[in-house]
Point group: C2
Chain length 263, copies 2
């Protein structure tokens, strides 16, 4: 049996159900490469679970999951994953391999960054269009710009995740803003402009979590502390959403008024 | 201080961080009207927290939150919420009232049904367009049909939540399918047709959770057990997504091929 268990958004983000499943497992693996989990200390997690946690690399999971699957054939295996499991394709792939090998699978859910970010900003999650990731410049893509443009045309909110290479290389919000302004300069669609209303969510779920909303040109010059960061471009705003952006994310009133008269 | 704490998707869906925050609170409230939490037993939750949980009604929260706010002015108040907090506007509104009264607020996240449903089906969450709720016929709306139509045009997935009036009145998947076929008959857009590929997620996060994918006309005749249910209409499918629908949700191969050649 292979049980995917979400770690949620940081230290102690795992659910009671997830902790119990990990405690009952014979072998516990964890991957920590698909997200940064601020505040997560492996030794503390091992203490809570009461057993050693084997941290696996992307290579282990994607190219050579034989060991995990071999264990799961005869024993209870727990596979700990940042956020809510199955958000990353790599986990769906592992689950499919297990199922094809006749191994039962189970998912224990936890908080995901997408739902948390919407909630922290007070934006209604049903009004979000598709999302995208802003990639590092050595792997350029116009997709985040295109997704943003299409969502803005419809009045929908857009969540933009920021690329993560490893613990030492997580994109920051100002870096992502610079890249998006570069795309605007090339594509000239008029969507990601310096006066666009944008929100930044830093370290969602952590004690020092920070949310900010303002025009792009102002956010570009701010310091949001250590990653993970993500961006949200609001679309059409309900008045409760606008008020939440003002009260919780410090959006200036005149910027909100300007945004709401345009969209 | 008013701390909103997510209960996740059922019994023991609360995170370790959330449990600790509830244990440290002076007063603990819970609202259980925005979602059904399969398997949640109040007495068990009270035992875990070690104090009485005061269950409040929609009316208490929306019209008369004075008691909650009065407590939160001087004491630590925990407010337990199904799923991930702030998904419902009613909580954003309560948080705004607290902030305007000078009361500090905090959010402890947990699993949300939206992220869980995508993960259970193996569908990539970034490819979901906006979502909608299928309302009971006494409160009719064409919005779910319109959202579905727009998403399908773009090749995006659509999540359709089903209306909930109270514990005794939660819409089932076949009921929602009937209502959507009724909308198709009226609007004749050709989007919600009997041959559409659709998925049903029943009791996400519970031990007896069930996922199914097939054509509308077949799902309409199936029994998915007790609610909560929700619907997902897949858009353009990556081959890993198609495989997941086949392996985990029992989608017939010919239905997937037909879907993928059309979209």
């Amino acid at each position: 049996m292979l049980t995917f268990i979400g770690l949620g958004l940081g230290a102690d983000g795992i659910s009671l159900q997830g902790l119990r499943a990990a405690q009952e497992a014979d072998v516990v693996y964890a991957e920590l490469y698909t997200s940064l989990l601020p505040g997560l200390v492996l030794a503390q997690l091992e203490k809570r679970i009461g057993k050693r946690v084997r941290v696996v690399s992307r290579r282990d999971v994607e190219e050579d999951p034989g060991e995990i699957l071999d264990h799961a054939r005869w024993k209870k295996v727990a596979f700990l994953v940042p956020g809510d499991p199955m958000i990353a394709t790599t986990h769906v792939d592992l689950r499919l391999r297990a199922a094809k090998a006749g191994i039962g699978t189970k998912i224990v859910h936890a908080a995901s960054i997408a739902s948390a970010a919407a909630g922290l900003l007070g934006l209604q999650s049903y009004k979000f269009g598709p999302s995208a990731t802003v990639p590092f410049p050595d792997n350029p893509s116009t997709r985040p710009y295109e997704v943003l443009a299409e969502n803005l045309k419809h009045g929908w909110h857009t969540m933009l995740f920021l690329d993560l290479r490893d613990k030492e290389r997580a994109m920051t919000a100002p870096e992502a803003i610079r890249l998006l302004l570069g795309l605007e300069e090339r594509l000239r669609g008029g969507f990601f402009t310096p006066d666009l209303l944008l929100a930044v969510v830093a370290r969602a779920g952590a004690d020092d979590c920070l949310v900010r909303a303002d025009q792009v040109e102002r956010l570009q010059r701010e310091d949001f502390g250590p990653p993970p960061h993500l961006l949200v471009a609001p679309g059409r705003l309900h008045f409760v959403e606008a008020e939440a952006l003002q009260v919780f994310a410090g959006a200036p009133k005149e910027v909100l008024v300007w945004h709401m008269t345009r969209r």
